[in-house]
């Protein structure tokens, strides 16, 4: 069913089940986000995608990534209050990830160039992680490896592998490092080995017939199963086929 709503006074159409963030962006309205990725379910952790929604005469602030659009709502994506709250959220985040280029650039857009809060100091060491949960969602929903999870609560919260040891189900695909907004996962290949630093996972790379190392054996096995490929599919690297 097609729904009609307005965003910043402009009438737009949306399909039932779409998120407000997706609809707004599709129509050219900018909304910042750090915990959202179209490939995985919305989670609502960073609180940056805050917008104002008026429904049945009642106004309220809400995150747009996990808000399913409704017909007849009026949405405002920018206002003084929204900017003020986003700036404060970015100031909190900047203190956790002061090195992240993405966070720094976004913060600067909101006039935040330094954080008044002391360097992290969280209960558990975070090393630049802002606990957006994207890595775990990608690992579970896209890769299917379920290697990562949140641990503990409150200011002791941490992202990691369930028992703080090398994650046995991790295939070292690197998807988590790819989606991480603060680039704090760390991922590289050296001497025939692939390493995912944050999770302390390293796997030897499989070699093609021509002797090129190109992906961890584990990952190839996993993908072959997922995509139902023939057993020798990865004997050739993509460039060799």
């Amino acid at each position: 069913m097609t729904l009609n709503l307005t965003i910043n006074g402009v009438r737009v159409e949306a399909e039932e089940g779409e998120s407000l963030l997706d609809v707004a962006r599709r129509n050219g309205f900018e909304i910042p986000s750090l915990c959202h990725h179209e490939a995985v379910a919305a989670y609502g952790a960073c609180r940056l995608c805050l917008v104002e929604v008026t429904k049945g005469g009642r106004k309220k602030l809400t995150t747009s990534c996990n808000y399913e659009v409704l017909g007849g709502i009026e949405v405002v994506t920018e206002s003084a209050a929204i900017r003020r709250h986003r700036a404060m959220v970015l100031e909190l985040i900047l203190a956790e990830a002061p090195e992240s280029a993405t966070v720094k650039a976004l913060a600067a857009e909101y006039g935040v160039t330094r954080s008044r809060f002391a360097a992290s100091g969280a209960g558990e060491d975070r090393d630049g992680c802002i606990l957006c949960g994207l890595c775990a969602r990608v690992c579970a929903e896209v890769v299917g490896a379920n290697a990562l999870t949140f641990r503990k609560r409150g200011d002791n919260r941490q992202m990691g592998t369930p028992f703080v040891e090398e994650p046995q189900t991790c295939i070292a695909c690197g998807a988590c490092a790819w989606v991480c907004p603060t680039s704090c996962v760390g991922f590289d290949e050296q001497n025939g080995e692939r390493k995912v630093h944050r999770w302390k996972r390293s796997l030897p790379l499989a070699k093609t017939e021509k002797g090129h190392a190109f992906a961890p054996q584990f990952q190839l096995f996993h993908f072959r199963k997922l995509a139902k490929l023939e057993a020798d599919f990865y004997k050739k690297a993509p460039g060799e086929r």
Partner: protein, 614 residues
């Protein structure tokens, strides 16, 4: 046990029970609630059982009951029908009580309650100021029944509300609850009837009815007292709710730390099923409904509705966005009606005695009574149940008996960790949902902490922020980082490291935490800091501008000194854990400030008022 096959047969069953229990029966009721148990109530009960047998007493029955509310005076023993209250009874007192009071009819003065303010002694329970001004609609039954006996409950009129609801049908029942305007006692104060209606109107093959018994507020134990003291009242309320909503399955989500409540509930469920009050075709009607018990996840946040439902489903107890109401899409995505323990316990009363009677109690906007856990710097502490709309002053000074040791009232914190602190100017406010909310505090689940002039309000704000930063689920940036940073900033104030800019940052950050967090833990977490900043700004400013803690609580900002009143008795020097007080016998003593850890022991032990704190 035989099933009662028809609603109308319940009255006959009850009549049979009453024949065996005349209204003037002599009963010794020993409070075996959690508080009294801590004072050895079980042993008192056992001693009564033994003594009654030993002394051959036949005309007195013995009853173990749930919490009577006046826990600090435990173990409490009430003798019916007259209602004489003996307090602070110990096992070794029992032989004498049986001999002199039960057999001899003599009143033993030393067990009577003596008013700490007037020194007056009171014989009867209902004459004691603590009880006199209460209206114990819910808690009152606790003293009159054994929570492990469904017959005790039925004898008091239990399950008659259910019979009446079945007789009049679902529509009538819903209307009655709506008319009574019962508002949720678990925190939000949302009208129960409205929620029931939303849930019932949500199209689905399945509707759930859930009881929130997660009670996570530090120091709160009203729900626990109801569950342990009168489990059937909650169960009956839920069955009536199931009828009105059209549900066949219910859950009671009980806080992890309440094993006795679980045991009592389990037994009550078995007894209710046995009599045909629960399960298939309840009282021979077309209503089938059963209840299961879930043990809580052990975190404060699990009491939040969406987290609670996730936890019942076996997932991590973490709140999710509620753009669609849980009454429409809740547990397993089905319409689910969640109410608090005390809310459910009100339902049988509403149905039994009617909405008109119910709305005559309390105020127009907040009907009925509310149970508070009255604690802190107040003479009488315990559970109090009062009609809504009673003033804070009456609760604290008449029921609570005022502030001990002649100190001055400073503030009262209502609503649990996310409530606000109200100053003396607000003492004449009526306690109801809307008034408290408009003042920046809330009813919450009914916590009421009284503070005297030795309390530092900045320190209070720090305490609650410390609790919440640990209990936040950690999902939202604003809640997880926001509360942690607020705690950091307020700590800086208590340590004299803050400026007026810090106060501004506290205010700005509070605004964002409130506006941008996902669930009510985050959106209300700033109440303690905001309300103290509003009502006690001077105290914050003293910390910031003068590096002084007016209440002499914040360690970094205070020092202990010994003045010329010192007689050289040497008591402080002996008790000081740091051994940093020096001085000869009968000479002025001196504190070595470099070693002092500001524990305050010297102040407490000095009999001559010679130790001062600044």
């Amino acid at each position: 046990m035989t099933r009662i096959g028809k609603a109308s047969e319940l009255a006959a069953y009850r009549a049979e029970l009453l024949k065996k229990r005349p209204a003037d029966a002599k009963v010794v009721a020993v409070c075996c609630g959690t508080g009294c148990n801590a004072y050895g109530a079980q042993k008192v009960y056992a001693a009564f059982a033994a003594e009654l047998a030993k002394q051959g007493v036949k005309d007195w029955a013995l009853r173990s009951t749930g919490c009577h509310g006046f826990c600090e005076r435990g173990t409490l023993v009430v003798m019916f029908p007259e209602g004489m209250l003996y307090q602070r009874v110990k096992p070794e007192d029992v032989a004498e009580i049986v001999e002199k009071t039960l057999k001899g009819g003599e009143t033993l003065e030393r067990f009577l309650y003596d008013d700490p303010v007037t020194g007056e002694k009171h014989r009867l329970e209902h004459e004691i100021p603590f009880y006199k001004h209460q209206e114990r609609l819910i808690l009152g039954q606790n003293g009159q029944l054994n929570p492990e006996s469904i017959d005790d409950y039925i004898a008091l009129g239990g399950y008659l509300g259910l019979a009446k609801a079945l007789e009049h049908g679902a529509d009538w029942t819903l209307e009655e609850v709506k008319k009574a305007n019962v508002r949720g006692r678990g925190g939000g104060g949302f009208p129960a009837g409205k929620k029931w209606e939303t849930c019932r109107n949500a199209k689905s093959d399945k509707h759930y009815v859930i009881c929130n018994a997660d009670e996570g507020d530090p120091g709160a134990f009203m729900d626990r007292s109801v569950l342990e003291g009168n489990p059937h009242s909650v169960i009956e309320g839920m069955i009536i709710g199931a009828l009105a909503i059209g549900s066949d399955e219910g859950f009671i989500y009980v806080r992890h730390e309440y094993p006795l409540a679980v045991k009592r509930l389990e037994q009550a469920l078995v007894e209710a099923r046995g009599l045909g009050l629960l399960g298939e075709k309840i009282l021979g009607s077309s209503l089938s409904f059963d209840i299961r018990i879930n043990r809580g996840g052990g975190a404060f946040v699990c009491g939040e509705s969406t987290a609670l439902m996730a936890s019942i489903e076996g997932r991590v107890g973490e709140p999710r966005a509620k753009h669609i109401n849980t009454a429409i899409q809740g547990l397993y995505n089905k319409p689910s009606n969640l109410n608090n323990v005390e809310t459910w316990a009100n339902i049988p009363l509403v149905i039994n005695r009617g909405a008109e009677w119910y709305t005559s109690i309390g105020t127009k906007g907040s009907t009925g009574t509310k149970i508070f856990s009255l604690v802190g710097k107040v003479n009488n502490t315990g559970l109090v149940e009062v009609p809504m709309g009673m003033t804070l002053r009456k609760i604290i000074f008449e029921i609570g008996g005022g502030i001990p040791a002649g100190r001055k009232f400073k503030a009262v914190q209502t609503g649990g960790p996310s409530g606000g602190c109200l100053p003396a100017e607000k003492l004449d406010l009526p306690v109801d949902f809307d008034t408290l909310w408009n003042e920046g505090s809330m009813m919450g689940s009914g916590g009421m902490i009284v503070m005297d002039d030795r309390t530092c309000m900045v320190d209070v704000a720090k305490y609650f922020l410390g609790f919440l930063k640990f209990e936040s689920c950690g999902k939202c940036t604003t809640c997880r980082e926001g509360i942690r940073r607020l705690h950091e900033l307020v700590t800086a104030v208590t340590e004299g490291r803050a400026t007026e800019e810090t106060l501004q940052l506290i205010e700005d950050l509070s605004e964002t935490v409130e506006a941008a967090s996902l669930c009510a833990l985050g959106t209300t977490a700033t109440n303690p800091v905001r309300s103290t900043l509003k009502f006690f700004r001077e105290e914050y400013l003293a910390h910031v501008k003068e590096r002084r803690c007016p209440a002499a609580v914040c360690k970094t900002l205070i020092r202990y000194d010994i003045n010329e009143k010192c007689t050289g008795c040497m008591v402080c020097a002996k008790r000081c854990p740091q051994k940093c007080i020096s001085g000869e016998r009968k000479k002025l003593h001196v504190i070595d400030q470099s070693k002092c850890i500001k524990c305050g022991i010297c102040l407490d032990v000095c009999k001559f008022d010679a130790v001062e704190v600044k």
